[in-house]
């Protein structure tokens, strides 16, 4: 390496030369560092994309609600409100028992139904039906609903969430999947 004439002591920086060639080297290192930084930035962006996509995946909601059979109509006689369970159509491989889902089916009269989510409209605890007083009661904060799902007492801001239903080949089907929530409010 060329030893420039105007060496003006630069202890500690480790350069062997000095003067203008030292400045050139410093400038080159500065440029290299910036270039490296740019490469890192591009690499970081490229590797961040799948990470962001992975983490935000659940919001993209690829799994939709589906029609699920609750069983033969005979299970839901007119005038009665019955407990029904189904396997959630939105499934993940490691769900275990947690995809088992419950709901309440009320048969108003032949061919007319109401299917209520098990989740209290207050904070989602499972409501229970009491045939004798014709009330749904929530064990958490005492939310109470009438037979038709409308709010009777307690903290819930609205009535019970309802599923859409249809009858096909003698069976009752509901449009189920997603945990019910404020989106279902009209």
């Amino acid at each position: 390496m060329s030893e420039g004439p105007g060496h003006t002591g630069c202890e500690g920086c480790g350069c062997t030369g000095g003067g203008s060639s030292g400045n050139r080297r410093a400038a080159r290192r500065g440029f290299m560092f910036k270039l490296g930084g740019g490469l890192m930035g591009v690499g970081a962006l490229l590797s961040a994309l799948p990470v962001i996509g992975f983490v935000l995946g659940p919001v993209r909601r690829t799994q939709k609600n589906q029609w699920v059979a609750l069983g033969a109509l005979a299970k839901f006689p007119p005038g009665a409100t019955r407990f029904a369970t189904y396997m959630n159509p939105i499934q993940q491989p490691t769900d275990g028992e947690s995809i088992k889902t419950a709901c309440w089916v009320r048969c108003i009269s032949e061919g007319k139904y109401q299917v209520f989510a098990i989740n209290c409209a207050h904070l989602g605890c499972p409501v229970r039906w009491f045939e004798q007083s014709k009330l749904f009661l929530c064990p958490c904060h005492g939310g109470a609903y009438y037979e038709d799902g409308s709010r009777a007492a307690g903290p819930p801001p609205r009535g019970l969430f309802e599923y859409e239903w249809k009858v096909e080949q003698g069976a009752l089907l509901i449009d189920a999947g997603r945990l019910p929530g404020m989106e279902d409010s009209t």
Partner: protein, 492 residues
């Protein structure tokens, strides 16, 4: 011996570990720093217990919604000492939250957060949030019915966030349902992200202690003056300070030792937390309850007026956290002694009383109906003795219409509504009829659900509920119009 000394000297020359640790042990602390100063060390000790027992559990726990509950049962029942490891992990987590709260209260009351220790306080608040998040995600790890429905409550609260509520909820749950990905998400938080954050923050917290030194006990009339504080503090430490080890460390050691023995005793006697009922959401005969650190929140959410609920649930936590972060900036100079800071002492007292009473309310949870009150609690005999057949029939209707789920008789039953032992001294038969029929005052209307005959019977029964020494309620001048006093909207 010489070999050992040589080996140590070699290790020191290559690692410099001793040179790193020595100032940690020998740095001067104020002579006045005595038993008030042990709570931070105890919090750290419980955190170490959490890491050790947590890693142990990590070798056995199956982080899968299909197997987590079974693996915990296996750890409890089959693995040698497994139940004790779980008990230590559970009780130590509660102890860590309590110790941290006491430590924070001490720092707040003594204004140790003032100049130059503002960042000590802020890293401490971050640690508080991380530890509470660890406690919540730890409850999810049990993957029992409390965990499932607790997540449901969290999801319902998140869902109420305006505009993006349901997206944020899905992000939290790892999908549109509480399922396999939910547990794994919380597992990643509980085992990787939050402990990592806690370790980093503890390191920073300790580095800041070394940088600024431990604050002295506050003295009235000795205000903090930022311009000269550091210089004066260092002079005082050089003149009057004592080395951390052994002058202060002895107290830390004794207190931590007592805490550790207490932890082991409590864990051995009371055992592990859960797991409760298996995580099958179709088993709805459940009564979800949060863990102790969140009992006060459960109480607060339950006692809020419904109209203000969404606003309070979403805004208050943010306001509280912001206020905690702002504490050192609202006054980082001046007096530190509690006697000269009455407003701050009152604020601390308010916080303690609020959290304690809300925890008490949460544990009692009088707002929760007794779901099997109607079928499990017999009508006390004194309320049916000597009654007419109609009144006795009324007692039957009262029982089977689930009235006991919310109303106590003879001291047993729900406490959501008032106890009815002496209801007839407060309500005339006409008022009773109106109340049962139309409801109101947070009671459902039973008009549609009871026949005329049932209504007559139940009112007949309720009209007999007076203590022997009191007369039934009556409207002077008899048949006046019935009062309409309910603020509740009329039932549909």
């Amino acid at each position: 011996m010489r070999f050992l000394a040589g080996a140590l000297a070699w290790l020191e020359s290559r690692s410099g570990l001793g040179a790193f640790i020595k100032p940690l042990m020998s740095h001067h602390v104020p002579r006045s720093a005595t038993w008030w100063y042990v709570f931070g060390s105890a919090t750290l000790m419980f955190f170490v217990i959490q890491v050790v027992t947590g890693v142990c559990l990590g070798t056995m726990y199956a982080p899968s919604a299909a197997e987590a509950w079974q693996s915990l049962r296996y750890i409890d029942k089959e693995v040698p000492a497994g139940w004790m490891i779980r008990a230590l992990h559970g009780w130590s987590s509660n102890a860590m939250v309590v110790m941290m709260a006491i430590h924070m209260l001490q720092v707040f009351l003594h204004a140790s957060y003032k100049y130059p220790r503002e960042l000590n306080w802020i890293t401490g608040v971050c640690l508080l949030l991380v530890v509470l998040a660890l406690a919540f995600t730890g409850q999810v790890m049990r993957w029992d019915q409390d965990a499932y429905w607790g997540l449901g409550i969290g999801a319902s609260i998140t869902d109420r966030i305006p505009v993006f509520g349901s997206q944020i909820r899905d992000l939290l749950l790892g999908g549109p349902i509480i399922g396999g990905e939910t547990l794994n998400r919380f597992y990643a938080l509980h085992v990787f992200i939050l402990p990592g954050a806690a370790i980093a923050l503890v390191g920073l917290h300790m580095a800041l202690i070394m940088r600024h030194g431990i604050s002295e006990m506050p003295r009235p009339g000795a205000p903090v003056r930022p311009a000269s504080y550091k210089k004066e503090y260092e002079e005082r430490m050089a003149r009057d300070g004592v080395p951390f080890h052994p002058d202060a460390s002895q107290r830390d050691m004794i207190f931590c030792g007592v805490c550790l023995i207490a932890l082991v005793v409590v864990a051995a006697i009371y055992g592990p937390f859960g797991p409760g009922g298996e995580p099958d959401p179709t088993l709805i005969d459940t009564n979800p309850r949060p863990d102790y650190p969140f009992m006060w929140l459960f109480g607060a959410v339950s006692l809020l007026p419904p109209a203000s609920e969404t606003f309070v649930m979403l805004v208050t936590p943010g306001v509280i956290v912001l206020a905690l972060f702002l504490v050192p900036f609202l006054g980082n100079a001046g007096e530190r002694a509690p006697s000269r800071r009455p407003v701050m002492v009152l604020a601390a007292a308010f916080a303690v009383i609020a959290i304690a009473s809300l925890t008490w309310e949460g544990l009692a949870s009088r707002w929760s109906p007794v779901m099997n009150g109607w079928s499990a609690l017999p009508t006390p005999a004194q309320f049916v003795r000597g009654r007419t057949p109609l009144e006795m029939q009324g007692a039957v209707v009262f029982q089977f219409a689930q009235c006991r789920n919310c109303h106590a008789l003879g001291g047993s039953g729900g406490q959501r509504g008032p106890a009815l032992d002496d209801v007839a001294t407060r309500f005339t038969p006409e008022q009773l009829t109106r109340q049962v029929q139309q409801g109101g005052g947070n009671m459902p209307a039973y008009g549609k659900n009871l026949s005329r005959a049932q209504m007559d019977a139940i009112v007949g029964f309720l009209s007999t509920l007076t203590p022997s020494y009191e007369t039934p309620a009556a409207i002077p001048g008899a048949m006046l119009p019935l009062p309409i006093s309910s603020a509740e909207p009329a039932p549909r």
